[in-house]
């Protein structure tokens, strides 16, 4: 019986595939139009940079620089993509980043054990996710308000706990374990970008090829439908907050490892960059749909603007203007594309 189902689908697909080439191409393009649009944006932005400052943008150095800085907010942007797919929002992750890295640095300072510190920091990130999840699903506070409160509360806690002082991690300079996370990999690109790629692949499988991702998609698309089919949507939302919490703590650990110092202001500049990366990539706030690939490319687009603006000979404060314009243009294009 099963065999015949498989043959029958194969036959039906064959029929579709035998259609005119032009139609098939158009169908593939329209299926992946968000991805095509974001690639188009990337070509446009980098093309412009190459024209404006070929000396910088036709050499690999600048790209290695992007690969070393963009992953810190890119890792969080991947987690934020899942949040938006589930039709939630999270504003607390920059503070979670600071708190997770603080706990990690403190444990390391006390025990000299980096892995133990990381484990502790990421556990705290998970706890923050659980708290966000409880506030949203059990108390019933809209996620934008719950996580706004969490953002302020955690930032305050970080300053109180650290007494506003930074923590030196110079003891780790040259430590092999540090190189695993933020060193230069043997293939000549920074290790943090390999982690970023690895997490992107993992989250793609989780969202589009795992049962859990199915639940995330339906929770964002039609929450009551998901419940009627037996999905625990409260648990699903909570787990999505936990994923972002853990990733934010991990990103915080990486960032402080790279700087060899933890600062109480860690993560403060990342809120808009992270949202920018997700929106430029083509994930909307409407829920039920999103693209990990788009966020991946969006991260490099947003991350490249600052370096690009400076290399093109403009003052640094132009960056925000460009990031803003890029977000508006990208979101407009995505909105026009999805209207069809």
């Amino acid at each position: 019986m099963e065999k015949s189902h498989s043959e029958s689908l194969a036959a039906a697909e064959k029929e579709l595939e035998n259609g005119p080439l032009k139609e098939r191409l158009a169908k593939k393009l329209s299926e992946h139009r968000v991805q095509v649009a974001v690639i188009g944006a990337a070509v446009l932005v980098f093309g412009t940079f190459m024209v404006l400052s070929p000396a910088v943008f036709l050499r690999p150095r600048i790209y290695v620089a992007f690969l070393s800085t963009a992953p810190f907010f890119g890792i969080m942007a991947l987690g934020l993509t899942l949040i938006l797919v589930s039709k939630q929002i999270d504003l607390s992750f920059p503070s979670t980043m600071a708190l997770g890295a603080f706990v990690s640095a403190s444990i390391f300072a006390a025990t000299d054990n980096l892995l133990l510190g990381m484990l502790g920091g990421m556990s705290v990130g998970a706890v923050v996710g659980v708290l966000n999840g409880i506030l949203v699903t059990k108390v019933g506070i809209p996620s934008i308000i719950a996580t706004l409160g969490m953002m302020f509360a955690l930032r305050g806690a970080v300053h109180v706990l650290s007494d506003g002082m930074s923590i030196s991690l110079t003891a780790l300079s040259g430590a092999p374990l540090r190189n695993v996370f933020v060193g230069m990999s043997p293939i000549g690109i920074p290790a943090q970008s390999l982690w970023f790629i690895g997490i992107a692949v993992l989250l793609w499988f989780l969202l589009f090829r795992h049962k859990f991702g199915d639940h995330v998609l339906f929770t964002g698309d039609n929450e009551s439908a998901a419940q009627m089919m037996g999905v625990n949507t409260d648990l699903t939302k909570t787990l999505v907050f936990v994923i972002l919490g853990v990733l934010a703590a991990f990103a915080g650990v990486l960032d402080s490892l790279r700087m060899l110092r933890w600062f109480p202001t860690l993560g403060e500049g990342y809120l808009l960059m992270t949202f920018g990366a997700v929106f430029v990539g083509g994930t909307s706030m409407f829920g039920g749909a999103g693209t990990i690939f788009g966020t991946f490319i969006g991260t490099f687009l947003v991350g490249s603007l600052e370096a690009g603006v400076i290399a093109a000979g403009l003052a640094g404060f132009w960056t925000r203007l460009f990031v803003g314009v890029l977000i508006l243009v990208a979101v407009t294009i995505h909105a026009l594309l999805s209207r069809r």
Partner: protein
Amino acid sequence: MSLVEMKGIHKYFQAVHALRDVDFHVGDNEIVGLIGDNGAGKSTLIKILSGLFPPDGGEMYIRGRKIGPKRYSVKRAHSLGIETVFQEQALGDLQPIWRNIFLGRQPTNALGLLDVRKAREEAHYVMTELMRFTGAGMSVDAPVRHLSGGERQGIAIGRAMYFDADLIILDEPTRALSVKEVGKVLDFISRIKEVGKSCVYISHTIIDVFNVSDRFVIMDRGEVVAERAREDASEASLIDLIRNTRT
């Protein structure tokens, strides 16, 4: 022993007393027509039966075994062979047909990774064999929002059929369907009867329900106000019953 038995069920939505001391049962191989005006409480009753939310009072038995409301859920109902096509259809508009059909019980490997191939093949089987969809070039990858009202209902019913339940609950399944599509649904209900399974068929119009049901349960304002076996009822008498309760 009834397949399903509900006794003294109460349900409140804040101030609204949506179900008042409702008794309801479904026998083996029985088609029950549950009728009543809009707002009578029909959907609320079957949502409790299907595990979507617990009652605020009363008892429930499935095949004679008492069901603890705390441990009951949609998943549990599915595993006990109770399948529901909700009035709201319960579809994710942006998701492809194959994901909609398997939502909540996806074929996976031990790691929870989806067996996409199997899901798509079985979804194709549901569309072509079970529901006999004929839409040219309709693909299991098409998002549900591209479907017509009848096709959407077809997906919701096909999904319930596929999982081969002992009791299928259909809440207003013919609403927004064409005459031909209504015929398909009625055929499906007759088939349920033929293969020895049971069905609760909810409607606020009597005409469709009348021909396929073995027994009628009439609800009004949260209460069961009358029950009639098929032999003792005529369409006119049922219409009268509903009208009279409304005065």
